[in-house]
Amino acid sequence: MASQWLGVNELAANVQTGKTKAVELVEQALATIAEKAEYNAIIVTTEDRARERANAIDASVAKGETVGRLAGVPFIAKDNFLVFGAETTAASNILKGFTAPYQSSVIEKLEAEGAICVAKANLDAFAHGASTENSDVFTTKNPHDTTRVPGGSSGGSAAAVVLDMAPFALGTDTGGSIRQPASFSGCVGYKPTYGLVSRSGVVAMASSTDVIGPLTRTVEDAAYIMNIIADRDELDSTTIERDPAGYALGANNTSLKGQKIGIIKEYMGEGLSPAVKAIIENSVAKLKSAGAEIVEVSLPSLPMALAVYYIICPAEVSSNLGRYDGQRYGHTNPDAKDLDESYMGARGTGFGKEAKRRIMIGTYVLSSGYYDAYYKQAQTVRTKLIQEFEEAFKDVDFLLGPVAPTTAFKIGENANDPLQMYLSDVMTVAANLVGTPAISLPAGKSGELPVGLQLMAPQRADRALLTLAKQTEELLV
C-alpha cells in the first residue's frame, strides 16, 4: 500500500519552500490518527501544541526565515519519552497524571529542526514486553491482522508508522523493542550503537542496554533522523562521539561487491519458523546475486544471551523503578498510616504484573548470597559474548539473521506465560548486550504477516550499517 507521506527530507524541503504548509502535514497526521483509532496505537495526541508549532513554522517560512531540516514533519513518540503537551506515563498506571516539566534531549533536537510531535504511542508499560499486552492502557493491534500483536515494546510506534499516521516514530530498544515490532508490523526499525543517542528525559529501563532509535518506512528516513539525533549530550554521560561524516545517506552508495556478510548459524537452526527461515534465505540469495560475499558464522555463546539478558535487565529494572515510590509524582496511596505503608501500597497497586515480576527477579539476582551466582555470572558471560562478536567482526563486515523466530503471534497467546513471551527476544538481545548497532528491514511476508531481516555491524559502524541496509532494502522491495 502506498504511503501518503513523502520521505522526511522531501517533506521538510516542501515546507521550507512554502510548497506545503506545516499545518497541513499536522492535520493530515491527526486525521489519520483519528481515523485509525481502533488499532490502539496511540495513547494521546499532543494536538494543541502541534498546531501551535506548525503555525509558528509556517509564519517563519512566510517571513522568509530559515526553518530546520525537519521543518513541519510530524512524528510520534513512544510514551516513555518526556514531551510537552500531554502526560508521559510509559503506559503505566503508576505514572498516571505525570506532566513532564522538561523534554527529552532527543525531542529537543528534533524540535530544534522543526519536527512536530503529534502523539504518544502505546507500549508495554515501562517497555517491559514484546507485544504491548503489558500496557496498563490497552493492547495495540497488528496493522495486518487485528487478532495479532504488533510486537513490542515499541508496538504502538511500529503500528503507527505502518498505519501511516506519521512519517516516523521514535522507539526505545533494550532487548529488541524497536526491531521486533518493526519485524512484526512491517517497517524499518533502527537500534543504534549503545551511547549514540542521548537518553536524557526518557524513562529508564535497563541502563546498560537502553538505546533510542527511529521507526520509519525507509532506511533513508531512518538515516536522516539518526543524523539529527545522534550526538554527545552533557545530560547523558554515557553518550559517545558521533561519526564526523554523519549518518545521512547520499545518492552515491558503494556497491555490495566485496561486502562480507556472516549468517549467524545459531539463529538459523532449531526453533526458527520455516516461513521466516525461507524469507531470510531468499534475502540471502538476493544479496549473493548482488555481489555480497556470504559466509556462515558461529557465535557459540549466543544460546546463553537470553538468559544473560533476563538477569541483567531485571536487575537494572529493579534499580531504575526504585524511584516510583508514590511520594513525588504519579500514583499514590493517600490512606497509608506511615511512610513504609505508603511505599508498599503505591508500588503494589501502581505497578502492573510484569513490572512487579521484573522488580522481584532483579531484587533476587542482586541480593546478598545470589549476586555472584546470577548477576556477576551473567555480566561475565556477557564478556564472552562480546569477545565472540569481536572475533566474528574480524572476519566479516556485517552479521545477518532473522529478527524474531516467528511472525506476529495472536493477542493472548503468550499473555499468561511470561517465559514464552521472553523467548520472543531471543534473536535481538545479543545486540543490546554487546552494544552493536542493528536494524530490522521488511524482507517479505508469510501470508499477510511481515517478516523482518536483521543486519548488525560492529560498534560505531552505524553509517556503514545504514548504507548496507539501504542497498539491501533496494533488493528486497
Binding site: 497524571g97 506532566t99 516539566p101 549503545y194 551511547g195 546498560s208 554515557t238 559517545i240 539463529y267 537452526g269 532449531e270 526453533g271 549466543l302 544460546p303 546463553m304 538468559a307 533476563y310 538477569i311 529493579s318 515510590d325 508514590g326 511520594q327 513525588r328 509524582y329 504519579g330 499514590t332 493517600p334 498510616k337 506511615d338 511512610l339 513504609d340 505508603s342 508498599m344 508500588r347 503494589g348 497497586t349 505497578f351 512487579k356 515480576r357 522481584m360 527477579i361 531484587t363 533476587y364 539476582v365 541480593s367 546470577y374 555470572q377 551473567a378 555480566q379 561475565t380 558471560v381 556477557r382 564478556t383 564472552k384 562480546i386 511470561p418 517465559l419 534473536m427 552494544g435 560498534q459
Partner: protein, 106 residues
C-alpha cells in the same frame, strides 16, 4: 546446541520467598499474586540458571560497553530555567511548597 533450552534445575521459590522479596522491593502483593509469582519466578530462574554451566575462567564481568571512563563536567551551577511551581505540580501532597510524606518514625 539449540538456541532455546528449557530445563528444570534447582531453584524453586516458595510463597515465603516471594513475600520476602516483595518486602525488600516494597511491593504489596495480594495472596493470588504471591502464588502466581512463586511458580512464574521459579520457572524464569530455572531458565536463567543454565548460565552456571558456562566456563568463564579468566574473564571479567562487563558493566558497560562504551569504554568511556570518568566522564566529568565542570562543577558549576547551571540553571535550566525550570519553574519550581511547575515542578511541584506533579507532587501528590504539598505543604509550604515542600513534599509532604507520611510519618516515618512510629
Amino acid at each position: 546446541m539449540a538456541l532455546v533450552q528449557l530445563k528444570a534445575t534447582m531453584s524453586k521459590l516458595t510463597q515465603d520467598d516471594i513475600l520476602k522479596l516483595a518486602r525488600l522491593a516494597r511491593l504489596q502483593l495480594t495472596d493470588d499474586e504471591v502464588d502466581e509469582y512463586a511458580s512464574e519466578l521459579s520457572e524464569i530462574l530455572q531458565y536463567v540458571e543454565q548460565l552456571s554451566a558456562v566456563d568463564v575462567t579468566g574473564l571479567k564481568p562487563t558493566n558497560q560497553v562504551t569504554g568511556l571512563t570518568n566522564v566529568t563536567r565542570a562543577d558549576e551551577i547551571k540553571s535550566y530555567g525550570y519553574d519550581p511551581k511547575e515542578l511541584r505540580k506533579n507532587l501528590p501532597a504539598v505543604e509550604n511548597d515542600q513534599i509532604k510524606v507520611k510519618r516515618m518514625i512510629g
